[in-house]
């Protein structure tokens, strides 16, 4: 307000200065001329003018008293216009608003020092509410202790601007269409508004009437032609227009007689002659026809038949959009959360902010494990002793699925895994632009997942391997035990033979010893027959040798059988192993 104010005052000063510099001579000369004229004409017309003036004054006085009286009467009959409740037609500047009631200032007052402006009523209510001491208190806006400025404090310009605002007549609900300046609204209601109440023109009647009806007294009883209710003539119009339950009206379109009150509803909703659009109009059908004939059209119109379906669709779509909005909001929040998480992550480890996958040690480790496992898988499949349940090609494919890191596609991984020399396995991660993950955090998370999978797989493989090993050891043990038992049997067989041989030899020696001296000639023979033997009976030696030979043969047979058994056993164990 204040710059405006100051500018105005400046202009005023300019105006006054110009007027002070130029106009005084002219105005003084003008007035002087007028005065001279007046003096010149005075003697001739003084009596007539005096009489006229007196009459005029008398009439004015009468008019004034009449005006005041009618105003007072009107104020008595009509509720005073509440300026705060008015409906404004013209747009107004927000600076003209009272900060308390938020409508254009009504009877503005200005506070000392802070120059804040309020409606008088608003400020009075605020202050008497809290400090009954009087028009003194704190400014509601700046809270400074202050008091009211006198009437002179408010600029006339402000008051004029406010009074220029155009408002709607408060009786507009009753039918007054007047839009007048706010400054004139009280006069409009009190003196001109056709719908304001005035005294009945009849001297004896004391009931109020609308101004437009106030040509004669309407306060006598009549009865409605249609419903035969008795009422005052003054109320008949309203009754006739709005209340009468029996008044019939002719519908202009279908020529049927309907209740007057329901005429509008009839035309809008039921009249068969009203032209209405096709039910599919919303979806593009342009046909309009009478209500009675729309049925016919509806039967043939595709859009009309589809209308319920389309409507349902539309409703659903709206619902979907609504929920989508909610979801979008949710996603936004989640993303915010992710971002903060990311911030926390990267604040701790700034190296990771370079979101290149190969730079991240975790990923490298993952790559190595992948590499190693392919190598072991290959060696496994070639070696005889270890067998993985899955064939190598399958293993590679499963690996390739494990290797689906963010930065390269599964097909790439598969190609690499299937390439023949696993030693040359070199990793060239594709450029980051092709990465399906937008943020390094996602990348990290997915990598974490992949690692976890890998660990789980390795653990499973380990337990598998463990089982297989123990089975292998068990098998081998059995086979060795068998072999040992067989060897033990063989050894005991040989031992028995040796025992038998020695005992036979000893027997032979014992038989020979009585005739040792007599049979010196046979000594050479006996020594020839039984190696280290001390000589003996030739026939006995022969028999011994024979039995030894059969025994040896038997032993050999047993050994052969053992060999075969062992072979079988080994084959069996081999089979068992291959089965494993």
């Amino acid at each position: 307000m204040s710059p405006f104010h100051s500018r105005l005052s400046l202009r005023n000063r300019n105006a006054s200065s110009t007027s002070s510099s130029y106009s005084p001579p002219s105005s003084s000369s003008m007035s002087a001329g007028l005065d001279q004229n007046a003096f010149a004409g005075a003697p001739t017309a003084v009596s007539t003018s005096m009489r006229g003036m007196r009459r005029l004054e008398a009439r004015r006085g009468l008019e004034e008293s009449h005006y005041l009286a009618s105003k007072a009467r009107s104020a008595h009959l009509n509720a005073p216009v509440d300026m705060h409740m008015l409906e404004y037609v013209s747009n107004y500047d927000t600076n003209l608003m009272c900060p308390i009631c938020r409508c254009p200032l009504v009877d503005p007052v200005i506070l000392y020092d802070c120059d804040h402006c309020f409606c008088r009523d608003c400020l009075r209510q605020t202050w008497t509410e809290y400090t009954p001491a009087g028009p003194r208190g704190n400014c509601p806006t700046c809270r400074a202790s202050t008091k009211l400025m006198g009437r002179g404090g408010v600029s006339k310009i402000l008051v004029n601007i406010l009074d220029e605002l155009v408002v709607r007549c408060p009786k507009h609900e009753e039918g007054c269409k007047a839009e007048v300046k706010r400054g004139a609204i009280a006069d409009h209601v009190n003196l001109y508004c056709e719908y304001a109440m005035v005294d009945c023109p009849s001297q004896t009647c004391e009931l109020p009437l609308r101004r437009k009806d106030a040509k004669e007294c309407l306060h006598y009883g009549v009865s409605c032609l249609d419903c035969h209710a008795t009422m005052l003539l003054a109320n008949l119009e309203t009754h006739w227009e709005e209340e009468c339950p029996d008044r019939k009206a002719l519908c202009q379109l279908c020529q049927s007689s309907v209740n007057h009150r329901e005429l509008q509803d009839h035309v809008d909703q039921t009249c068969p002659a009203t032209s209405i659009p096709c039910t599919g109009a919303e979806f593009g059908c342009t046909v309009r026809s009478k209500r009675g004939e729309i049925e016919k059209h509806t039967k043939t119109c595709t859009l009309a038949t589809l209308a319920p379906f389309l409507e349902a669709q539309k409703k659903r779509q709206d619902e979907q959009e609504q929920s989508q909005k909610l979801l979008a909001r949710k996603v936004q929040i989640l993303e915010g959360g992710f971002e903060s998480l990311q911030k926390i992550l990267y604040a701790q480890d700034p190296d990771l902010s370079a979101a290149e996958p190969s730079r991240i040690p975790l990923l490298e480790a993952q790559l190595h494990t992948g590499n190693n496992s392919t190598a072991t898988a290959d060696t496994d499949s070639s070696s005889d002793t270890l067998h993985f349940p899955a064939p190598p090609s399958n293993r590679n494919s499963s690996l390739s699925t494990d290797l689906t890191f963010p930065s390269f596609s599964p097909s790439d991984a598969f190609a690499i895994a299937a390439s023949p020399p696993p030693q040359d396995f070199s990793f060239t991660p594709p450029p980051l632009q092709s990465s399906p993950f937008t943020s390094p955090l996602h990348h990290l998370l997915s990598m974490h997942e992949a690692l976890r999978d890998e660990v789980a797989r390795i653990a499973a493989a380990l337990t598998d391997l463990d089982g297989r090993h123990s089975m292998l050891i068990l098998n081998e043990n059995l086979r060795l035990k068998e072999e040992m038992a067989y060897l033990g049997a063989q050894v005991s067989g040989v031992m028995r033979q040796v025992g038998w041989l020695t005992s036979a030899r000893l027997q032979a020696q014992a038989q020979h010893s009585p005739h040792a001296a007599a049979q010196t000639a046979g000594g050479g023979e006996s020594s020839q027959g039984s190696g280290g033997g001390g000589g003996g009976d030739g026939g006995g030696v022969q028999g011994a040798v024979n039995t030894a030979a059969t025994a040896l043969r038997g032993a050999a047979r047993v050994v052969n059988v053992g060999r075969e058994g062992m072979g079988l056993g080994r084959r069996a164990t081999d089979e068992g192993r291959t089965k494993l």
Partner: protein, 185 residues
Amino acid sequence: MSTSSPLPRAATGSPGGSSSAAILLGRQFKQMQTDKDIPGISCGLVDNNIFEWEVMLMIADDCPGYGGGCFRARISFPSEYPLLPPKMKFETPIYHPNIYPSGEVCISILHPPEEDRYGYESAAERWSPVQTPETILLSVISMLSSPNDESPANVEAGKLWREDPKEFKKRVRKCVRDSQENAWD
């Protein structure tokens, strides 16, 4: 989501009678609905009653502690508005030194000027009829980020805020997370 749904036409005019308070509130409500300068606030009426507003506060992320929270609150205006202040109550559970565990907001500008039962605040900080729902909500949002521990409404929260800021922050984050989860139920 009744808060941000477009209002029936009756509500934008002068619902709930035609007293000057109702007219003023209707005008301010309409302004809140159309104003685009206040982000994160959406309001609606409870039972189409102009004296009962339901407000959804979506706190901006730069607000320390409460950033990202979605709090539902209810503002009840007296029939003497704007001469007497409205009451504001959070319906979403919120952990804050200046908000009672029941959700009622304890903020000096919502205290009527004549009562001074606590002696904590001078009249200068209390209700003034020039306050609007908008200024109230802005004050509440700024209160969230900077609690006033001189007269804590939630004594436990005030104590925690003073003595164990870390734990306080944890509790606040939890209530913010809960508010996000329950905001659209």
